[in-house]
Amino acid sequence: MKRKISFPDKDVIISRLKKINYKRKGVAFLAALLKYVVLASIGYLVLYPLVYMVSFSIRPYSDYIDPAIYWIPKHLSNIQFSNAQKVIDFIPSIKNSLIFEVLSAFIEVITCSIVAYGMARFKFRGKGILTVLLFAMIILPEQMIIIPKMINYSNLDFLGIIRLTNKIFGTNIKISILNTGFAFWLPSLFGVGLKAGIIIFIYMQFYKGLPKELEEAAWIDGANLTQTYLRISLPSSSVVLATVIILSVIWHWNDYYLAVMYTSKAESMPIAVKIAQMQTSLQTIGIWNGPYHVGARCAACLAFVAPMLVMYIILQRKFVQSIDRVGITG
């Protein structure tokens, strides 16, 4: 017996498909809406201080006392910036920040990468102890060792060498690296700079995730350490490199605690220290409180934050959006 299979009409099928399509579109639309609502509502919290800073740093005194103005001022003026300039002296202090902090950030990015490569790729005696020390470096705060460190720096004695020469030759050499760039560069050069532990850890997690096969092939072909590091591992770590550069530069740029310990002279202070001390230094030039005080602080903070924001936008376009893991096929 033949059974007739009845198909629905063509029109009915199309209309059903359309319904399904509408449903899907509706769900997708709702999901997108939810996404934007979440992003925007948390984004509002985050954006608030920036809008506040911009708004308060461009308005003159008359607009502060005008109750009709909330966000957008009626007049523009640069009085806040010029007040901030009086106490902070932007150009020299930004130059200090670049020379001391940013340079040592880049040194740190390079040295920590080498250390992490060694820790992640090779087995050697003493690695267990070094791992424990790495975790100690990550967990223990800078406040714990800052005083002995400062004393070290004010009378630098590298493994007792200077004391030894002083004893042998009867000289009296004392080297103080406080107020100079070396207080920032030296620790970075030895891979123990600002938050170096966490940076090494980021690199290590990444290098452990890279497949070993490429390097094994290189070992067999007779490549040495520098060759495998420079030609294989480094080129395939563009993602982590971008992350680490961003983090390290920002941490160094923002760092105030170490900088205030290492620099005591006004001409060698980075901008972060000057901003932290603004409250009192504004009072010394006669701005006690009120609108000018707030405005000048906002202006200074804006000038302080802006370079980092620009750096992030540029770097994330360059690195983060075009990632390809070189030479690795899934």
């Binding site: 087995k123 005083i147 004393i151 983090l247």
Partner: protein, 296 residues
Amino acid sequence: MKKKKMRGIEAIKEQYGWKCVSFWVVGLIVFFIYPLIQSIIYMFNETSPQVGYVALKFVKFNNFNDVFRVDPDFTNRLMASILNFLYTFPAVLILSFVLAIILNSKFKGRLFFRALYFLPVIIASGVVYSVLLGSQNLDTIQTDSSIRSDIFKTGEVIASLGLPEVISKYIESILSTIMDITWKCGIQIILFISGMQSIPPALYEAAKVEGTTKWEEFWLITFPMMVRTLLLVVVFTMVDIITSVDDKVMKQAYKFMELQSYGQSSVMLWSYFLIIGAMVSLISWLFYRIFAKKWM
């Protein structure tokens, strides 16, 4: 040359390992271990700073006695800090993971939102946060959020759900401190995004061909590939919460440091960080036990 070959590739690799870390070991000894030992010595001494050095006077366990038994504040602060850590930690982890997933998907204005969510990294990790909070008007943010929670009465809404009190209190505390938590999420989001982007897209393509749903895709590809990043973020978040400037123990230790009694501040910091260190190592050990065998 011949000798090297005889010793095998493993020996050469061991050499290479030491070559990579040798300068770091020197740095560790000079800039980390030596100051650390000094701070341990401070714990048992009365300190009085002089020009260029710190004069020490041995006082046995007096500093410990002062901190734990004489000082009425310290033990309370210690408990408060640890409790604060216990509820902030999961909240930061979850919020930043969700935000990272959203920010990593493709949508219009992604660049703008990424730059936006990068602001906490710049502002909160540094001096700007405290400078701005020092100004009176910015305190309105805090009152703003509290007003909002008053309007919606989060406490009552959550209580009406009939959940156990512990859980509802937890949710309430998250909602009321969502502001602070958002400010702590910046770097975690960046780490998560960079972790997600290092997952080879070929995996997703293969999964699509096989016809997986988004849910399966998340649990079978994204999450296992993210375990390494997750461990990193777990460790970072713990350390970040503990060492933040508004931590109560850190504040008190800093105050004692300014009073130049380094011995007592060393005792505070060491006792605090021994507890924290135990917690961190316990959590990362558990993490390895649970996830590492499966996916790492």
